[in-house]
Amino acid sequence: MFVSMNWINEYVDLSGLDTEELIHRFTLSTAEVEDIYYKGKDIERVVAGQIVSIENHPNSKKLHLLKVDVGNDILDIVCGAPNVRLGMVVPVALAGGRVCAGEIKTATVAGYESNGMCCSEMELGISDDHSGLMEITDDVKLGTDICELYPIRDVVFEVDNKSLTNRPDLWGHYGIAREFSAITKRPLKPIKTDDGDYSAGDEIPVEIRSDLVYRYSALRINSIKKTVSPVAMRIRLFYCGMRGINLLADLTNYIMLEMGQPMHAFDGKKVDSIAVGTPSENGKFVTLDGTERDVDENTLLIYNNDEPVAVAGIMGGLDSEIVGDTDSVVLESANFDGVSVRKTSSRLGLRTDASMRYEKIIDPEMTVTAIRRFVKLLKDIEPNCEISSRLSDKYVKKYPERELKFNKKYVDRYTGIDISNERIVETLEALGFGVKLENDEFTVKVPSWRATKDVTIKADIIEEITRIYGYDNFEIKTTKSPLKPVRAEKVKSEDALIKDLLVNKFNLHEVHSYIWCDGKKYKRLGIEVEENCRILNIPTPENGTLRNSMIPTLLTVAYENKSFAPSFGVFECGRVADGYLENGYCDERRRLGIVLFDKTVGEKELYFKALNMLKFIFRDIKHSDAVFSKVKEVRHAYQHPKNTAEISYEGKKIGELFTLHPMNNQKLDKNAAVVCAEIDLDNFFAIKVSDVEYTEPSKFPAIDYDLSLVLSDSHKYDDIRTAWESLKIPELTGAKVVDLFEQNGNKSIAVRLSFSSQDRTLAMEEIQSHIDKVLEKLNKIGISLKQ
């Protein structure tokens, strides 16, 4: 919103104060100022001049040779404006003066000397009209500086609309002036209004058919002959971001900018009775911008004899718009439900200055005052206008009056500093609150313009007191709360440990990605987006499905980084939605995804590197080992049917380790090995950290015994391990694979078993008898010693 300091000064005398400093204090106490504009600063030596002679330029059809009386001189000026007329009074920029476009110099134009320039409104920066010269119709003395005639010089600042969301009272200059009054402790002047009793004539019938209406006030005014607003008013409208249309429309806009009350002027010849309600069926309505709009049963409309004439609080209709030839107006000053206006406005895609104000839930007390202000301004311009109806005023819904009680101690507790009772009273009164103070107990009546939603509880009062007091004036103090030691949460520290290991020990790179599947990128790798929870309103529907695994996204990351290095690994600790829970909510899981990409080693080597990595993480963080076992059926089509392993701990699934289906591997990179792992961190964090088990090293020598075994293709290491573990030999203290090789289709494995005892040196015969039992077990499952 744009705020004119000239306008503010009408309501609070800020003379003698530095304007920029004032605006800075407004930012600190009220709302953020985004920009300051110095209007009219470029306009110099522009005076009122009368065209006293016009000759056509001999060589140009467009140009005229003028003689212009500027009071103390008659100037020769060459002018190209189409609307030049003998006797016309226009702004003349003298040689050496300035307009928006720059400095004016005496110059030769098409062979004739021109000693100045006649100006359009745009050249003076007071409108965007450059169709012709500005005509000064007021009675002025020739040679008077234009800046003395009209309020061209002004400081206008722009407030961030978002910072006014909760302040309906600041959507008009008067409300802003009240803030300046409180900030500067200078008095706020009342708004000048007409004091007629509007009791003559018939009342315009107003029927309220909907509970979305709070108040509807209306008045008919006739005999309005003037159609153009005064220059000063048009300048102000333009500086505040609007443009002059016609007198009646300008007046409604002016009052909206001044008081924050939107008004609508219906053509008095076309509107004679008002009803407000919602239509019983869907239909069409043409707003005054000429657009046909769909209205439904939720759209609050204004009717004249059952014909819709306006969308309430948003925009009038084309058919009842004020046009040039009318001299009668039916003035609407009303208050509608803010939420309804907002919803309708967003449904119609039509946000107007009026709807923006209604959305903020403005004060219904204003409607009649706004009408009185309108009449006052109109009478100043058109003294012969006539009020030709009684005032209609249907005030059907009121906001409750609010009274808040608090004491000095409450303020002290909230602020942490000592703001005096006098200061509190003074601030609140300046902002329009009614204040009663008895023995440190305050009773505060909230003014109507703050009571619609903004100030409802005593904490709201704290804000009023402190923002005017100034946060810069606060003493900065620490709390008296006792300090308690805080230990890192297990989840946090394990999460950090995992990242530390992956980065520092395994040289992986941590990345972040999106929580939804990127359909396009998945497709490039031949990955189908699997059915899962969807985002309803994502702009790109192919990305609308939430991911149920970290891996596909990490594969796209690997794909996009193929040129980064021949060998690299990425990981992400993120979240997935793995289907739904029983209550219908998403089963959100914390997951760790790892993808290794390598063109320098084979897939097998990379697979075991990943296996080693995962085992390391378990051993390091949990001090125990996870179980890895091949799955019978893969869950995702991109997983390799043979080399997908489940990671589990005490029977609970913790994650998966797998290579890619050849089709996906091919699409990602046919020359690279790719291995993926995913850990469910919620399950991982839930695993208890085992205590470190300490065994006193034996004082007696350990004896190693190597077994060289021949395996068939279906044998796994686990089969061999089970053979000796099932024997539960207490002296068997370790087993290690020392060699693994394949020859002529036969797999063989060399295992080193270690035996030791805490209390004696083991005899060879004893060990041999254990070995015999182990071999016997192995023989039963078809594993024999290598010959």
């Binding site: 620490t478 929580i515 980084n561 690299f568 909510y585």
Partner: protein
Amino acid sequence: MQDKTSSLRETFKELIGRVNSSEEIEKLRVEFLGKKGHIASLMSQLKTVPNEEKKAFGQSVNELKQKIEQQLAEAHEKIVKLEEQRQINAAEDYDVSLPMNIEMGSYHPITVIQREVEEIFRTMGFTIEDFSEIVDDYNCFEAVNIPKYHPARDMQDTYYLDNGQLLKTHTSAAQNSIMRKYGAPLRAVFPGRCFRNESTDACHENTFFQMEGIMIDEDISISNLIYFMKTMLSEVFGQDVTVRLRPGFFPFVEPGFELDIQCLICGGEGCPSCKNSGWLELCPCGMIHPNVLKYGGIDSEKYTGFAFGLGLTRLAMMKYGVKDIRVFNSGNLKALSQFIGK
């Protein structure tokens, strides 16, 4: 006999002057000090020496023996030194300016910033909490005083899911759960990923990180809020920062503030990075709205508190001079692999 001792001394002197290696020294040692060496043979002649000379003779042989031992040791040391020096001279001069091919992993910059800020809060007695990304309407809006049809819901364009849940638009969505979990007094920060349905460009992302903090106790005041903000931000930026509060509207706080810090680049003079204002808008904060305390099961008459939100993504951009916010979620290792070490 004394002559024999003297001549032996002379002989040794001559020989020791010519040794060049530890082998020669060893040979000399055996020749003079060995079981069958010159000294032993002199000593064996002791019995032939007259009694009155025995003492003097014994002494002089012993002296000679000691002298020889000493000189042998000295010569040995000298040879070892020479040998070491020779090795040093012959050693290769390694080029330490050679580039090493160091393979290093990297942390995501958000992780780095998050750890740093978490650590600061931990030292100030705050617990660090985690919260889900998929939340319900109650936690994200209702419980933080944003009822249905509140304009603030429009301000934060929300991703709604087909099961009625939504992606959390702000970390405030965790406030209610954390208040219910711990009650008052309470100090907690909760970092998290937030989502806004808006189009992305160099300055806007639909997925970004925030960190929110709350402190609740009896008599927590605006004055305390300013203290904590100033202290925390000074730690984050590693220098004393000047803060200022302006009124700001957020439904979950009352009063609500926008906190600005004096621009660290120009020191408040005005420069392009602060758009010539001298101030940078950094974090929204305020005194927790009594309704929010109430919803969280905390007695709002007894307790007050403050809350603040920090844009971690924004902080990371400031700290590392990242100009395009989309880098964070890009997975682009050319950019991300630069963030080595925590």
